[in-house]
């Protein structure tokens, strides 16, 4: 994967999400535009790059969030593990796959966020910390999943700029051949 393209895509998604905040709310929930990008990378990139990319996008999100630092990195990392584990059995380019994978990933992120929102004020004894709202996180997850096919369709148009190479086609290195002979 070309990391420059990855960072430009992450920056653009984050800037759009920040700028559109307040305008694209439905029932108090705004979509997470970085998560479809994370799912897109996790579906297409090699495993180490996919997981690392998911954590980096989570850190991006953390930098522009009012939640504790590291929360989204942790949640995106777990969501990345989920998507990477499921990708061998899904049709990668199908819109329904985009929707289902994003919904699962958003559900994972929502669960982590809710646990954090419940535990954080108790650990740090904060009185005015916003209460955890299951409905708000559920709306956000569903909203994110609904916009995901559109985001991924746009990303698929520029897919070659990411330079993805699937796990099974990378050239074997000298060490790999040596290990094969030994085994």
């Amino acid at each position: 994967m070309y990391w420059i393209t990855f960072f430009i895509a992450g920056y653009t998604a984050l800037a759009l999400q920040t700028a559109l905040a307040g305008y694209i709310h439905i029932a108090g929930a705004a979509p997470d535009l970085l998560l479809p990008l994370a799912v897109f990378v996790c579906i297409n990139a090699r495993r180490p790059q996919a997981l690392l990319g998911a954590v980096i996008l989570g850190l991006f999100q953390d930098m522009f969030s009012s939640r504790p630092l590291g929360l989204h990195a942790f949640a995106y990392g777990l969501a990345g593990l989920l998507v990477v584990g499921a990708r061998p059995v899904v049709h990668r380019d199908h819109p329904l796959t985009c929707f289902a994978m994003t919904l699962a990933a958003a559900g994972m992120v929502a669960a982590v966020v809710l646990v954090n929102q419940w535990a954080y004020p108790r650990i740090h004894r904060l009185a005015d910390w916003p209460a955890a709202s299951v409905a708000a996180e559920a709306y956000r997850a569903a909203y994110t999943a609904f916009v995901a096919p559109a985001v991924m369709a746009a990303l698929n148009r520029v897919r070659r700029l990411f330079g993805f190479r699937p796990d099974h086609v990378f050239a074997p290195r000298a060490g790999d051949a040596w290990r094969e002979r030994r085994t």
Binding site: T18, G22, F74, A136
Partner: protein, 306 residues
């Protein structure tokens, strides 16, 4: 790197992030965030401007956060209203202080414009704004005749503006209404005779007042449609006292304590859709024309003696 080694590194990374998310106080994170939040400006500013213009055109509302219908009052009437309310409160405070030690006058003169980059993700109601010269933490932000919030941190050319409606944002206010004088020539602000209401953001775009009894509100004649204005000369600069916090939309007894009332007020502006705010720095702003004139004088070449 083999998958086994990567898995170990990834597990450590994930556990580190998880530990930070639960154990590191959010105030430490704020220092890191403040330095980087301005980097989104090249994309976020034009996108927000475009969306604001499109939204205004589609909704038929004036630009920059004005709610539909709120822009019906002529600008002159609005300006007069805020001047009346502001001066009424200021005069009261100045009488109380027996002197004009505090900065007085129209807050707009002592403020600088700050473009809004966008809103922070998460449950907090926080806007990211481009911070110009003189902007610092603790300064209030206003737009037109309304209080928007307060700057909570400022670094790296950007600032975080905590909105009035954020959960736990507390400020002291006053109820009142605008009415035309008997001779019909002027507008006056009549404050209701209640103890100071404690206005608190609820985190859902509204404000709540829960420290007054139903009887106090009845006796003062507070009703739906009245205005809640800022009245907190101790913590807020005097020029912004009298600025509007919101309009009363509901008065009901509190579910857990029937003697106390819960008053719900809604800000006049849609604070999440603001494109620009005025940050009250306390330093008088030089009008654009005057600034040009000064620059012209300075840059004018000296006339050659004949």
């Amino acid at each position: 790197m083999s998958y086994v080694r990567f898995n170990h590194v990834f597990a450590v990374l994930l556990l580190g992030c998880g530990a930070a998310a639960f154990l590191v106080p959010v105030r430490y994170a704020g220092r890191v965030r403040g330095e980087v939040q301005g980097v989104l400006a090249p994309v976020a500013l034009p996108v927000r401007s475009a969306v604001n213009a499109i939204s205004a055109r589609l909704a038929g509302a004036p630009e920059n956060g004005a709610l539909p219908g709120a822009g019906a009052a002529p600008a002159e009437l609005e300006r007069l209203r805020v001047a009346v309310a502001s001066l009424t409160v200021q005069v009261d405070e100045l009488r109380r202080l027996a002197g004009g030690r505090e900065l007085a006058g129209d807050a707009q003169r002592y403020s600088v414009p700050a473009r809004v980059l966008g809103a922070e993700d998460g449950p907090r109601h926080v806007l990211l704004v481009r911070a110009g010269d003189g902007v610092a933490a603790g300064m209030p932000a206003v737009w037109r005749d309304s209080i928007v919030g307060r700057i909570v941190s400022c670094a790296g050319g950007s600032a975080r503006l905590r909105l009035l409606t954020d959960r736990g944002f507390r400020v002291s206010g006053a109820f009142g209404r605008f009415r035309t004088t008997a001779d019909g020539t002027a507008v006056e602000f009549v404050a209701a005779a209640t103890p100071p209401p404690l206005v608190e953001g609820r985190g859902d775009g509204t404000l709540a007042i829960a420290n007054l009894t139903c009887r106090q509100l009845d006796e003062a004649g507070v009703r739906v449609g009245d205005w809640v204005v800022l009245r907190d000369a101790d913590d807020w600069p005097l020029p912004v006292n009298g600025y509007v916090l919101g309009q009363v939309v509901q008065i009901a007894p509190q579910p857990g304590a029937r003697l106390f009332a819960e008053v719900i007020a809604r800000p006049k502006l849609n604070l999440g859709q603001l494109r620009e705010v005025m940050v009250v720095t306390g330093v008088e702003r030089v009008p654009a024309g005057a600034a040009r004139a000064v620059a012209g004088v300075r840059s004018a070449p000296a006339a050659k003696p004949r």
